[in-house]
């Protein structure tokens, strides 16, 4: 009788072959290539050379900067995010939803846009230009805070709004002051959520690339940007490879901590969902207004500066820079007009989103029913999350820049799409699998008993209920690919730039026209990304939601 159970396996492996081959070719192999470049020279282990890179004073400085920046960014995000979580999630008031939505905007913005926005704010000619913050650690830290408040809001806000208010009342009745009650009851209850959020923010900060590269310029560099600089300026592939390994260690350690805190948070969560929110009263008004004003200022100032600078011309304000997006700039500045880069971005992002979604649906189907082989596949697919995009880009550059089976893949524009698909795939899978697992398995049994075969079940039962989630994740994948900078910066040819790489190039060129064009292009990219996100949110159907 067990015959039949074994008969199912070959099909599973046949279907799993596609995502496995894709990740093997475009992720695992390149990653090994990076690691072996760092370790092996002329066929034998080169420990001395590795040691040389590791002990270089520049390496120590870069690692210190990475950790210090990540710590600053994390501390800032928690210090701003926790009070904001109180005002936006624990309390309820009119107009709150709009503010919440606005607060999550920075997180969906492409890194290059955030970098450009802060650049607009801090450049000598910017709003805060007189403070000389350009290319400073402080400026990067603030940009990281800007980026990551949404993470803290989401995790801590979620925990806070579900926290039982009766324990707080009990403490107050027992004679604790507001502050004492907060410290003795609320804070300990929130600690797991805060720790979890902090670990995730630390990870995002430590692997942040675009923001550091643009704002740090030549003065501040982290492991991520150093990898890029070693490859593109010093042409030292081995140093880049060794730094990649170092980065893997940092990321691995952070992931381990994040996982530990997540487990604690899951344990700390109440089994039943309760509503711990309370309507804001007149007495809360000063606090809420103060917090919202602070957060609003932090979030709005850079975006305002970006839009303002994109409209500022040598003769006042106008749409000159936007017009310039459709003209050919000097060939030394950018080989194609910006609109062409935007088209390149849209095309590659569409292909990347299609690949990531197709593979994501396949993987989701294969891992929905929990099994050991499913867990292996799931882990493989999630790996790119723990490896920085810079390393994916570098690996692909090293691996595929030579003929394979007589075909030279290096420099092919679709390599960019493949890299973007690798980056987007984990998020696609993560957003489809919960929906797929939420489908009552009895529906499939019922369909089966009614005469539906495996394919019919998927087509008639799973697909109608997954459609919404798939559409949504395809939109997200598209938005991620559109703004992807880490891997793309390694792979996009100068003659075929994407919008983010074009913006990066323009930001690095002197002259108010080029800078202005960079800001206009950033606004364009932000608008594109935001529209994609909004459109895909609309694709989320109500089917299955009410059962």
């Amino acid at each position: 009788m067990t015959r039949r159970r074994y008969r199912l396996h070959p099909w599973w492996w046949v279907l799993a072959a596609a995502p496995m081959a894709f990740l093997g070719l475009f992720f695992v192999w390149p990653l090994f290539e990076v690691l072996s470049r760092g370790l092996v020279v002329d066929g034998h282990l080169d420990a001395a050379g590795m040691w040389e890179v590791l002990t270089a004073s520049r390496t120590a400085k870069v690692v210190a900067t990475t950790v210090w920046l990540a710590a600053l960014g994390t501390a800032g995000a928690v210090l701003v995010g926790v009070p904001a979580a109180y005002a936006l999630f624990r309390l309820t008031w009119r107009g709150q939803r709009a503010i919440r939505a606005l607060a999550t905007v920075p997180f969906v913005l492409p890194t290059i846009v955030v970098a450009a926005a802060f650049s607009a704010l801090l450049r000598p000619s910017g709003l805060l230009g007189s403070f000389d913050l350009d290319q400073s650690v402080a400026a990067i830290a603030v940009a990281l805070v800007f980026y990551n408040i949404a993470v803290v809001l989401r995790i801590v806000g979620g925990a806070w709004s579900a926290m039982d208010p009766s324990t707080l009342s009990a403490a107050r009745v027992l004679g604790a002051s507001r502050w004492r009650a907060f410290r003795a009851v609320t804070l300990p209850a929130l600690t797991p959520a805060i720790a979890s959020a902090a670990a995730i923010v630390f990870l995002f900060c430590a692997t942040s690339f675009g923001v550091v590269l643009v704002l740090g310029g030549t003065r501040v560099s982290t492991v991520e940007t150093e990898i890029y600089l070693q490859v593109n300026q010093f042409l030292d592939l081995r140093a880049a490879a060794v730094l990649s390994m170092l980065q893997l260690v940092i990321v691995g350690f952070t992931l381990w901590v994040a996982n530990a805190t997540r487990r604690r948070r899951e344990r700390a969560l109440p089994s039943r969902r309760l509503d711990g929110t309370r309507p804001a009263t007149r007495r809360d008004a000063p606090v809420v207004i103060g917090i919202v004003f602070m957060v609003g200022l932090l979030l709005a100032a850079p975006l305002y500066a970006l839009v303002e600078r994109s409209l500022r011309t040598s003769a006042g304000h106008g749409i000159d820079h936007y017009v310039a997006l459709f003209q050919q700039p000097g060939l030394a500045i950018l080989p194609v007009p910006v609109w062409q880069a935007a088209v390149n971005s849209l095309v590659t992002a569409a292909i990347a989103a299609a690949i990531a979604t197709m593979l994501g649906v396949l993987v989701a189907y294969l891992v929905t029913r929990r099994s050991r082989r499913g867990a292996v596949l799931d882990t493989l697919v999630m790996l790119p999350l723990g490896v920085s995009a810079v390393m994916v880009g570098l690996g692909l550059l090293l691996t595929l820049n030579r003929p394979i089976f007589g075909v030279t893949l290096g420099g092919s524009w679709w390599l960019v799409a493949a890299a973007q698909a690798v980056v987007a795939l984990p998020l696609v899978v993560r957003s489809i699998v919960p929906t797929a697992r939420a489908i009552d398995p009895r529906l499939r049994m019922a369909a089966s008993a009614l005469g539906a075969g495996t394919w019919q079940i998927w087509r008639r039962v799973d697909w109608p209920m997954l459609r919404g989630a798939v559409g949504l994740s395809m939109g997200f994948a598209f938005a991620i690919a559109l703004g992807e900078f880490g891997a793309t910066s390694f792979l996009a040819r100068p003659t075929r730039p994407t919008l983010p790489t074009a913006i990066y190039r323009l930001l690095g060129r002197p002259g108010i026209e080029n800078i202005g064009m960079a800001f206009a292009a950033s606004v364009l990219l932000a608008v594109l990304t935001a529209s994609v996100m909004m459109a895909s949110e609309r694709m989320r159907t109500q089917v299955g939601a009410d059962l």
Binding site: M1, T2, R4, M445, S448, A449, L450, G451
Partner: protein, 254 residues
């Protein structure tokens, strides 16, 4: 080997369990030409084991025969293995030993969707993305029934379960009792040779349950459906089934 409640009709085939498709068709054609009716379901020493440490033996060598048109109830406390037995018969759970045969044909190699058995659960089984009619039509679509025939059959089925005019309704608009009626109609629409009902009324109020138990019995009788009902309620079993089999610890008792 102890055969609980074995009917005389089925004895004939026990000794000559067919191994190949040829002999199976011989038997069924022979039976038809001789004017003998279909012999129905025959379950021999069926076991279901769930992996684990130690493995859980849910069903331990159960033997059971159900004649065509007969309604049998499997009664027992929760965890006695009655649902596992039913699932193994329908084919949604893999048995660890024993055979399930219909008209003398072993079904081990027949996947669920080709067995021609129907299945009704306690709740949560209707396709939320389809209307009432869409749900009832599902099995007919799978069988490739043309659309106009489908529509006629769906209406007839809805009439049978007392839900005329509900075709266009969304599943979410129905009460618990109505949902179970739709589930019953959906399972009966493709005219299954056997209908398996797994605690079909357990999610309903006591009051509604008593009334619906009588209705279900009448519907099954009217359509001449062979059925196995799993329940933990003795009264319900008595109302719905002509024969009640009690189970405990994976085995039939009494």
């Amino acid at each position: 080997m102890k055969n609980v409640g074995m009917k005389d009709v089925t004895v004939k085939n026990v000794s000559e369990t067919p191994a190949s498709g040829a002999s199976a068709s011989e038997i069924s054609s022979g039976a038809t030409s001789a004017g003998v009716k279909s012999t129905g379901l025959r379950v021999s020493s069926l076991s279901v084991t769930y992996p684990g440490k130690p493995p859980v033996i849910a069903v331990d060598g159960a033997d059971l025969s159900v004649a065509p048109g007969e309604i049998v109830a499997l009664l027992g406390p929760s965890g006695c293995g009655k649902s596992s037995l039913l699932s193994a018969i329908v084919g949604v759970v893999e048995p660890s030993g024993g055979t399930v045969a219909w008209d003398g044909v072993d079904l081990a190699q027949t996947p669920v969707h080709k067995r021609g058995f129907g299945l009704v659960f306690q709740d949560g089984q209707l396709f939320p993305h389809r209307t009432v009619a869409g749900n009832v039509a599902f099995g007919l679509e799978m069988a490739g029934v043309p659309q106009h025939e489908r529509e006629v059959r769906v209406e007839a089925m809805l009439a049978l379960v007392g839900l005329e005019g509900y075709s266009a309704r969304a599943i979410t608009e129905l009460s618990g009792g109505q949902r179970q009626r739709v589930a019953l109609a959906r399972s009966l629409a493709p005219a299954p040779r056997l209908l398996a009902l797994d605690e079909p009324l357990s999610s309903l109020d006591a009051d509604l349950r008593a009334r619906l138990a009588v209705d279900v019995r009448e519907i099954l009788r009217e359509s001449g459906t062979t059925a196995i009902v799993v329940t933990h309620d003795p009264a319900e079993a008595e109302v719905m089934a002509a024969r009640v089999l009690r189970m405990r610890d994976g085995k039939f008792v009494g």
